[in-house]
Symmetry: C2
Subunit: 354 residues, 2 copies
């Protein structure tokens, strides 16, 4: 009654839900996306359980923290997991991928991240999918796009991806709390011998969502936010957004290189600028100095903790935020003992940004 | 960087998370509650998978839409499910419960809803737990408290409940999007032969949450809202809130009875006033007439759709909202053909509210 929140089983809410769904599909370059009330990680689990038969052999391309997460997920659920382990910061060697697919012809699905946030690498999922189609045409390609959606070029249908998972809190400029799953027609058709799932059962969700509602209570306020965020993205143009994000990240990387840092990613993700700290400076100190100035940047995880730091300009960030990041980086490195002339990095950033 | 949302791996956020966790435990009358980014339904699944061994025999007390949901959940995951099916609107017959527990001594867990939203019944989970302890001391008692938390008396530790699931969108006056799980010490200790779960794995979550963080991306904005909502509830006094909710629901029920409706629940849940429409009037018409006046009330589900409607005053609702509901009900019933003197129901509501 006096609830400040619109009830989720009303015609008004269904209208908003339908609109948000349609716009989300547009941004995904697909026809249909399932929306879950959960963090982005839940989407990969939901998609995998909905399409890959129990005990199937799956290939995990593990190139960082998130690649490892999906490998652990698959192991936990009893899939037979083959791993291609890639050093952090690197991309997959396509010869190795081809050979693995040739030598394990009963692989039913290949798992990969698109933008691997832990390393700043954008994996070439288009080429990965093409390679899989060539060697094992029936294997499904499962892609974690949590940090690449609305940040890097992503065309699941055109590229032949079978499952793409994403979340609300990265490129969509929203708070965390929504998870998204796209599945290809053949992934939807792959429905025999699945492991059970209940809350994350996107096959049940699909039946509800095709009627513009959700199987469980809808995260109404988040759906309003999604609807609004998608309007901004569509008005800007999704392709423009991809270019802008790539330019911003490149500007940070080139400026930082001039200041003594080095880029970590072999193939750069527009979602995050992964940087190796200059010799003799600890990444944790850079992160701490940024924090003192009120700016939050991510440090490195696991074995790259010592030297990696990862500034990112996502959400509503514009080119002046990029300049700010570079200005702060200059100041911080000076504070930590480097001798850097004023605006050396900022000049580079401005030049790259144009 | 320019994110409008606080990053979830920061000391500031950890402080807020720790505070919200502690206050949530206080409102639950327990020591520890796990918080998930998901709808309330996910909490029951998470709790069940975290404590009940695979293939175990479980007893489902099915007294409505939600009781049925947990039965289906258990079946889907391959548990051996014994059912006590109760007519909608009724409570469990304790003789039947005792007999069932005696005749199926290998039952490992008993599932029940506390407030069954579909029928407006408050199930006596205290007595259910006592009965289970008497007959099968080792069986776990799993309780869905999604709509009873902060609405009806609930003392999981004192009553010996082993798992209690809840969500953010009912008594806590918040938008949907957070799920909560309490587990008893012996439920946490029951960790052999569990079915796998990943995103909803509260044993993994617990390790993170004991360090004031979450295993996956934290729903930061929802945690702020939780922190604020709990302050309001604790300031009001949780026991006062229970009394107030019960009084509001009773006021609606008694007024509606005077207007020709009848109460549906054998034992009334303070969370919702389940009412049978007067003879000759369709519940759907009452719901539609409320909607025309800008007030949303729930209709009936499944086989009670024809005659059940369910107004509720939760969230920030106060006694004047109760009076409004009754005034609208009067007007609506008059519109639908009943001859009701002005304020007949409202006078009763005011008398009950005092």
């Amino acid at each position: 009654m006096s609830e400040p929140v619109m009830h989720h089983r009303t015609a008004e809410f269904k209208g908003i839900f339908a609109r948000a769904q349609a716009k989300l599909a547009q941004v995904f370059f697909v026809d249909e996306v399932i929306i879950l009330s959960a963090s982005g990680s839940a989407a990969f689990e939901a998609g995998m359980l909905a399409a890959v038969p129990a005990k199937a052999k799956v290939l995990a391309i593990n190139a960082g923290k998130f690649g490892e997460r999906w490998l652990l997920l698959a192991q936990k659920y009893g899939y037979e997991v083959i791993e291609i382990k890639i050093p952090w910061g690197k991309t997959v060697d396509f010869k190795v991928l081809e050979d693995t697919l040739k030598s394990e012809p009963d692989i039913k699905a290949v798992m990969t991240t698109h933008s691997e946030t832990s390393t700043g690498v954008l994996h070439d999922v288009k080429k990965i999918a093409k390679t899989v189609k060539q060697e094992l045409p029936d294997a499904l390609v499962l892609v974690d796009a949590v940090s690449s959606l609305a940040a890097a070029e992503l065309r699941p249908k055109e590229w032949g991806l079978d499952m793409v998972s994403a979340g609300s809190q990265k490129g969509l400029m929203m708070p965390p709390g929504l998870a998204f799953v796209y599945m290809s027609q053949r992934a939807w058709a792959s429905k025999t011998n699945l492991k059970p799932s209940f809350y994350l059962d996107i096959r049940k969700e699909r039946i509800s969502q095709q009627k513009n509602t959700t199987a469980y209570t809808s995260p109404v306020n988040m759906i309003y936010a999604l609807d609004a965020a998608l309007d901004i993205i569509i008005a800007e143009g999704i392709e423009n957004l991809w270019q802008k994000r790539a330019l911003y990240t490149e500007a940070i990387l080139q400026s930082a290189e001039l200041l003594g840092c080095s880029r970590f990613a072999q193939r750069v993700s527009p979602a995050v600028a992964a940087l190796r700290a200059p010799e003799g400076i600890k990444a944790a100190d850079i992160v701490a100095e940024f924090a003192k100035r009120g700016l939050r940047i991510a440090g490195g995880q696991d074995h790259v903790k010592e030297f990696l730091f990862r500034p990112a300009v996502l959400g509503y960030g514009d080119k002046y935020d990029v300049i700010t990041v570079v200005a702060v980086l200059e100041e911080v490195l000076r504070e930590l003992g480097l001798d850097i002339p004023y605006a050396k990095g900022v000049a580079k950033a401005m030049q790259v940004l144009g």
